[in-house]
Structures are given as C-alpha cells and as structure tokens.
Amino acid sequence: MNNPPDISQDPAEHEEYAHGIQKHVKGYLMVGAALIVCTALTVGLSYVNFGSQKANIIVALLLAAFKVSLVGAVFMHLAAEKKLIYRVLIFTGFFVFALFWLTYLAWYNPIVAPH
C-alpha cells in the first residue's frame, strides 16, 4: 500500500485524489480487523498445548511477528518507503540483533564465582 501522493489544488484532481485515499481507508480498516482477529487467535492458541512451552512461545511469537509486519507495512507505510528509511531500519535491525546476541553469549557462557 503506497503512501498517497501530495494533494492537488485543482478541484477535479482533488476529487480523484480523495477517492484514492478512500481506497486506502478501506485497507486500514481491514488491517485493523485482521489485527483484532490475530489477537483473539493469539489468546486462543496460548491455551492449546503444542507439546512444550517452547512450541507455544514460537507460535505466539510468529503471530506477533505477523501482526508487527502488518502494522509496519500498512499503517507505517513501510511497504513503499524511500531508500533512506530502509537503510536506517537495516542498521537498527543489525544492532538490535547484536544486542540479543550479546545476551545469548552471556547466557551460554556465564561468569561463575571462583571455587
């Protein structure tokens, strides 16, 4: 879903532009409804036993990732943004993964008290 273009001052063009935005509005409402449904699904599935706690966590996080991608792509217009924004996000993603990696290393190789 693209970011709508700048508005025109010409009445006829404005009418066409407003009609285009109206289409976006329908998309926003549909995404909102999908997010509510996904929330209900997240709650419902959390009470289903998938065999282990880890499996339940993976299911919940996959649903959360789907919801986040919907919000990002449609509400935040990331489906069609300028390159600079994507570059900022790639850097952010890299550093946030590095942060989680450090946590993982600390857990994997903890500092223990000397005997």
């Binding site: 404005h14 929330t39 509400f75 935040m76 600079l84 952010t92 946030v96 946590t103 857990w107």
Partner: protein, 291 residues
C-alpha cells in the same frame, strides 16, 4: 525564518525532514526496548524450575487493552487520511477517538491492573519446608503431571500487620484457587478468566517463609521485568496522548487553515510513533500475559 523541508522533500534524502527525524528516533527506541526485552529473555532462560510465574495477569483485561491500542492505531491513521482529504471535522473526531483510546489504556493499567498486583501477596516457602505445605502446593500431583514445582503460596494477606510485627508468628492468606485446591486438574494450567482468591485461609509459619511480598516489582524477576517494560511503555502512551491533545486543540486548527499539509505531516510523524508504541505492546502482551 521558516523551518525548511516541513512539507517539501529534501533533494538528497527524498523526504521531508521530520520523517527522517522520527525514524531515527524510532531506531533509538528499538534499541531501548530491545535492551529490556533481551534482559527479559536472559532472566527467563536463567530462571530455575518453578521460579518463573504463569497466569498471574488478568488475560481478558490485557486482551481488551490490546484491542484498544489496535483501534487507536486505526483511528490515528484514519485521522491522517482525513487531513489528506482536507476533512478537518472528520480528522477532529478520529483524533478524539485516539486520545480516548490512549486514556482508557492508561486508566486500566494505572487504576485497575497495577493496584490489583500491589494488593496480592505471595510467600515463597523454604525448599526444606515445601513438604510441610503440600496441602497448599500439591507438588506430588505437579510431579506426576510433569508440571513445574510450586514454590509459592499466594492470595490476599489477611493479617498485614504480621509483615512488621515480630510477635506475630504466622501469615494468614486467603488462598488463590491454585493453592486452595492444588490437586484439582483444572489448576494445572492458567485460566483465561481471572480467578479471585478463595475464602479458604492458609496459615503459614513465618520461619518457613524464604520471603514474602506483594506482586510488585520487588516480588520476582518476572514482575520486575513486567513493571519496567509496561511502565516505560505506559510513559510512551502518556507522551503520545499529550501530543495528540495538542494536535486536537484549536491551536492546530489555525495551522490547518494556514497550511493543512504541514499539520498532516505532523500527524503522520506522531502516528508513526504511536504505531511503534502499538508494536511494542504486540510483543508485551503474549510474553507477559500468556506465556
């Protein structure tokens, strides 16, 4: 002097300046919440069996708050679309709806969810005394079912004076359902609906208690993470609501009459912040309420 590139795009970035600014700010926010979430994962992975609580938060209320935040994300993007279509009155209503959603979210958190936790107490029993309280803990049943051991007896503390008075030797707790009927298979997993403490009073000798506290941040690593992350998130909701109120007041109508596209761009950057706040909650809700 006019601030440059509030509407027109800069030739080098292809964007108006506030948009670059808000995305850089959101990048720093990702790192801030990323640090807290990684701390949460670290604490959770390191928790000993039975030390990471489940089912202590009110799921229906959390679900309702999640839905409220999602609705507010929709209304803020609709407010922006209304401005783009030059329909100020529609914008005004959508913005009011967004403000109300944010205010309801905060109200529920600050006046219902958090205070309830400060009224609820849990007593962690010393490891060598767990068997003595088998009637409340049901650890043999838990072991048979392959469940995590229960180390805590929780509910409403009847004799609060026992916390400070060394002459009182016992705690009297109106037990939570899981401690009132620990071998009931219905208590093996958390419930969707909130189950208040029962009428059954459990008596616990002080000397058998490792530590006792309300369900505040001092209770456990779980509640420390919960209050830190939801507190910081709540501060973001409050900040967003205050900015939206400014956008909704007559001062913004004057900007609209003078330069409607400028107001639309302001609403867009605030909306991006608001969607980010929604994104954080999308992870907070399952991690703390459901798993």
């Amino acid at each position: 002097m006019e601030i440059p590139y509030t509407i027109s795009t800069r030739p080098d970035t292809g964007l108006w300046n506030a948009k670059v600014g808000i995305w850089l700010f959101l990048a720093s926010e990702v790192m801030l919440f990323g640090g807290l979430f990684s701390a949460y994962i670290f604490l959770r992975l390191d928790a000993q069996p039975g030390e990471w609580p489940h089912g202590l938060l009110n799921v229906p209320v959390g679900t309702m708050n999640t839905a409220i935040l999602i609705i507010s994300s929709v209304t803020v993007v609709l407010a922006w679309a209304a401005l783009k279509m030059r329909r100020y009155r529609t914008y005004w209503w959508y913005m009011l709806a967004t403000i109300l959603c944010g205010a309801i979210f905060l109200f529920v958190k600050l006046y219902y969810e958090w205070p309830q936790k400060f009224e609820h107490f849990g007593a962690f029993i010393k490891r060598d005394k767990l068997e003595k309280y088998e009637q409340y803990l049901g650890n043999k049943h838990a072991e048979e079912k392959g469940l995590q051991p229960r180390l805590e007896i929780s509910g409403h503390l009847h004799n609060r004076e026992a916390l400070a008075d060394p002459n009182i030797k016992e705690y009297e707790i109106a037990l939570d359902p899981v401690n009132a009927d620990p071998t009931n298979p219905a208590m093996d997993r958390p419930h969707f609906l909130y189950m208040p403490p029962t009428e059954k009073i459990g008596t616990i000798e002080k000397e058998d208690v490792e530590r006792i506290s309300s369900f505040g941040p001092w209770h456990s690593a779980y509640f420390a993470s919960y209050f830190t992350i939801t507190g910081l998130h709540g501060a973001h909701v409050l900040g967003g609501v205050l900015v939206f109120i400014y956008m909704w007041l007559p001062v913004s109508k004057r900007l609209y009459q003078h330069n409607p596209e400028h107001l639309a761009n302001r609403v867009e950057v605030c909306g991006l912040f608001w969607h980010f706040v929604d994104l954080v909650w999308i992870f907070v809700f399952p991690l703390f309420y459901l798993l």
